[in-house]
């Protein structure tokens, strides 16, 4: 294995946790306790477990929003706080709900997908505008484009944020409970779309879900967590 690039033969490790411990500031007990996990390029990994198992902490440590105190975390072979790595990811946080007075339209929120790439005083490129349109159509939120984001329902807000993730065309998607506010029909639609994205475009997907009633078809493995540790890994479908 090439430690610099995290490659093993032709397979590239895009997310690497080696004996990782994470503790929230001021807390006595760590939330992640010696987690070791390797996610390969093109994998669709579902992380599950009860409340407080450390699923969200795992995601947030993986993208550098939380600092780990022990162990090694690499995102695309780089430190998880590296801008270069972060430009290639899409992130959907858990339980996102904005107050009704947020002064943004749904489309403006999706357009923010490209803010990290923009130079001072520059406008969105025609390609970026097209990517925004396409992502909103794909998720089915185009009719909400000029509505106030804060006044949308929790499910609609979640869909708009999902469109923002897709507009970036990320190499890795970190999705924290993406189905939590969606109705059954929307769950199935998103599930199918994620499977398509994984299979046809080779996107790596790391998805947290405590509810296993909707497992996307393309899901390759389920990682079970409990008390900050990985307690089991199994295949998503079949025996």
């Amino acid at each position: 294995m090439d430690p610099k690039h995290g490659t093993r033969g032709n397979i590239r490790t895009v997310l690497e946790f080696t004996d990782v411990w994470t503790r929230y500031s001021g807390e006595k007990n760590p939330v992640l306790r010696g987690v070791t996990l390797h996610v390969e390029e093109g994998e669709f990994t579902l992380i599950t477990g009860p409340n407080g198992a450390g699923k969200t902490t795992l995601i947030e440590t993986g993208i550098g929003l939380l600092r780990h105190e022990r162990g090694t975390v690499k995102l695309l072979g780089l430190p998880p706080t590296s801008r270069e790595a972060r430009l290639k990811i899409g992130y959907l946080p858990q339980d996102f709900m904005k107050d009704p007075y947020e002064p943004y339209t749904a489309r403006q929120v999706v357009e923010m997908a490209f803010s990290s790439y923009r130079k001072p005083l520059s406008n969105l490129t025609p390609q970026q505008l097209e990517a925004v349109d396409r992502a909103m159509s794909l998720i089915g939120v185009k009719e909400l484009a000029y509505k106030s984001f804060g006044k949308l329902s929790a499910g609609q807000q979640q869909k708009v944020l999902m469109a923002r993730v897709l507009a970036r065309k990320p190499k890795i998607l970190f999705l924290d409970e993406p189905f939590s506010s969606l109705d059954h029909k929307s769950r199935l639609r998103l599930s199918t779309m994620l499977s398509k994205l994984n299979r046809e475009e080779g996107a790596t997907i790391i998805m947290v879900s405590h509810d296993l009633s909707t497992i996307p078809e393309a899901c390759t493995r389920i990682v079970e967590m409990q008390d900050g540790k990985i307690v089991g890994v199994k295949r998503c479908h079949g025996p």
């Binding site: 801008r83 992130y91 946080p93 943004y104 403006q108 803010s115 923009r118 970036r168």
Partner: protein, 264 residues
């Protein structure tokens, strides 16, 4: 009062209103509301230290407030305490220092012109040089906002997502902290340390009832700040009252009007 001084007072209060109104939205959206407290009280403590030590009070006030603006972000980062809490702790410490050094200062410290300027503000402090400084601050801040608008509005929306998507949120928060610091320092002479935050946040609060977009909120907050400044100076001149208190009172009345208008 000479008419030139009256004109200067109106121009300066209008500019201070624009500066505070727009910065207030920026600071409140980024969770930097208490920064103004620590900065203005740093200036008051600085003025008191200056008087006590026989140094130039205005210079010490400026240095301490500027140092607070620059140090606040890294201090919060290093101590892992939220910047709002660090700011409030500094605010309390600076208030105590302002009182102690004023008390210890020789002679009639409270009646000195400099201390009253920093504490209460005065139209007498307005000079053409001060107006040019205010104007330069407005233009510089407007240029910064325009240049980094996509990144800033993304952070306003959600800092966590912005950071995950590769925006250096810390750098922008530090920049906003320094902008807020500059604004407070610039406006201090006119409005005074006790009331500068009312001109920062009251127009910003009123703008949430008017602006439908973020740009609209900043523009309306700047406009309401300008109105507060002009009305405040008028009230101050007519009733012979302290200008800082009059500007603050005007901004509160404007906020009440916007709330009542929305309620109808």
């Amino acid at each position: 009062m000479p008419w030139t001084l009256i004109v200067y007072a109106y121009v300066a209060s209008a500019l201070a209103g624009i500066l505070c109104g727009s910065t207030g939205v920026l600071a409140s959206k980024l969770g930097l509301r208490t920064v103004a407290f620590s900065m203005s009280h740093a200036a008051m403590a600085g003025a008191a230290i200056g008087l006590y030590a026989g140094l130039n009070p205005e210079a010490v006030a400026f240095i301490l407030a500027a140092a607070t603006a620059v140090a606040l972000g890294p201090l919060a980062e290093h101590t892992r305490i939220h910047s709002e809490l660090v700011s409030m702790a500094l605010f309390s410490g600076y208030t105590a220092m302002a009182f102690i050094f004023t008390y210890l200062s020789p002679g009639t410290a409270l009646s000195t012109r400099t201390l009253s300027l920093v504490f209460w503000g005065s139209v007498l402090a307005v000079t053409p040089g001060y107006i040019i400084l205010l104007l330069t601050s407005i233009v510089s801040i407007a240029l910064l906002l325009l240049s980094f608008w996509p990144q800033l509005s993304t952070i306003f929306f959600d800092r966590k997502i912005a950071e995950a998507e590769g925006i250096n949120t810390k750098a922008y928060i530090y920049m906003a902290t320094i902008i807020s610091g500059i604004t407070v320092i610039m406006v201090l002479k006119l409005v005074g340390g006790f009331l500068v935050f009312s001109l920062l946040y009251t127009p910003a609060a009123a703008s949430t009832k008017i602006g439908r977009t973020l740009r609209g909120m900043i523009a309306s907050s700047a406009l309401l700040g300008l109105l507060s400044g002009m009305l405040g100076v008028t009230l101050s001149l007519v009733a012979d009252l302290p200008v800082g208190a009059c500007i603050s009172l005007s901004s509160t009345v404007i906020l009440l009007i916007t709330i009542l208008k929305e309620a109808r």
